[in-house]
């Protein structure tokens, strides 16, 4: 049983879009997805990429993804990484695939000197919230936004 995580490549935008639709379905927001493959091709692989995507493969089969982009904290005066989407196929959950996707991003933050990895979670999504807390992420006071930084970011990256 092997898990491989690598950046998405041009030509895989259909796979990325399929994951986006599955995530939207899980979030009960499928009706909001209007993106087409061409949009994602432009966003991920166009002349001025707007976002990045890591794909997870279990024994060669694509089973999950993390879509992210750089952001900036005006309070810290530093760039960081914002995780927009994280998804693992339901039948493949419980194998640490989501955690491995998060760890890949945490390692990128540390390697690039970025102090913070941040994402949002829907407030009813208790299973995910429990996983994020266990990883050392903490919800911000009065905001439903999750961040991991400092020692917890280092720990997640290692």
């Amino acid at each position: 049983m092997t898990l491989e995580i690598r950046p998405a490549r041009p030509g895989e935008e259909g796979l990325v879009l399929a994951f986006i639709r599955k995530l939207a379905d899980y979030e009960k927001l499928a009706h909001e997805v209007t993106a087409r493959e061409a949009d994602l091709r432009e966003g991920l692989f166009g002349p001025a990429p707007r976002c990045h995507c890591d794909l997870a493969f279990w024994n060669g089969e694509a089973v999950g993804f993390a879509l992210w982009f750089y952001n900036f904290s005006t309070f810290a005066g530093k760039a960081g990484i914002y995780l927009e989407d994280l998804f693992v196929e339901p039948h493949m959950r419980g194998r640490g695939i989501g955690k491995a996707l998060l760890k890949t991003l945490a390692r990128r933050c540390v390697d690039e000197g970025l102090p913070r990895l941040q994402w949002w979670v829907l407030d009813w999504n208790e299973p995910s919230i429990a996983v994020y807390r266990a990883l050392g992420a903490r919800p911000m006071d009065e905001w439903t936004v999750f961040r991991v930084s400092g020692p917890e970011l280092e720990a997640l990256a290692s």
């Binding site: 986006i20 209007t34 949009d39 879509l67 900036f72 005006t74 005066g77 530093k78 949002w120």
Partner: protein
């Protein structure tokens, strides 16, 4: 008495630092503020920066700012703009400068060809909530996430 709004440019780092520190203090978050003017100068000097700011002047004096960064919606497959801060210095409050900055941000977003401006709101900030609702923003109650798009975005920008 007039409000003028312009993009922040190289050399505005100290002005932005002063304004965003004032915002941090206003929210009781001064302990989380560590940015230095040079942190801002880095992106102000970079034409391909992922983030930037608008500065509002009252009779020519810098009075407030709005900071933005690139974001991406996988559901619509397009770049969107996230507003990180909107700050008005204490001496210049209640002159309509915050509303003018929000309108200028809406204009900026449309000029970039982006379909959406979004930002977060502190749960306790009822005054800001009213201002944003009047501007046409949809406020998702679960996480105080404000979204301005479509006709409401066009209306505010015009």
């Amino acid at each position: 008495m007039s409000i003028t709004i312009r993009p922040a440019v190289a050399g505005d780092g100290a002005t932005l630092t002063r304004m965003i520190r004032a915002l941090a203090e206003h929210h009781g978050y001064e302990a989380h503020f560590s940015a230095q003017p040079e942190d801002y100068e880095k992106f102000l000097a970079d034409p391909a920066a992922i983030n930037g700011a608008l500065i509002a002047c009252w009779n020519g004096e810098p009075a407030g700012c709005a900071t933005w960064q690139r974001s991406y919606s996988t559901f619509i497959g397009r770049e969107t703009i996230y507003m990180e801060d909107i700050s008005v210095l204490p001496d210049y409050r209640r002159k309509g400068i915050g509303s003018a900055l929000l309108r200028a941000m809406a204009r900026f977003v449309l000029d970039r060809g982006a379909p959406r401006l979004h930002w977060l709101l502190m749960a306790w900030n009822g005054e800001a909530r009213r201002l944003y609702a009047e501007a046409g923003a949809v406020i998702e109650d679960g996480n105080c996430h404000c979204i301005l798009e479509g006709e409401a975005l066009e209306r505010l920008a015009s």
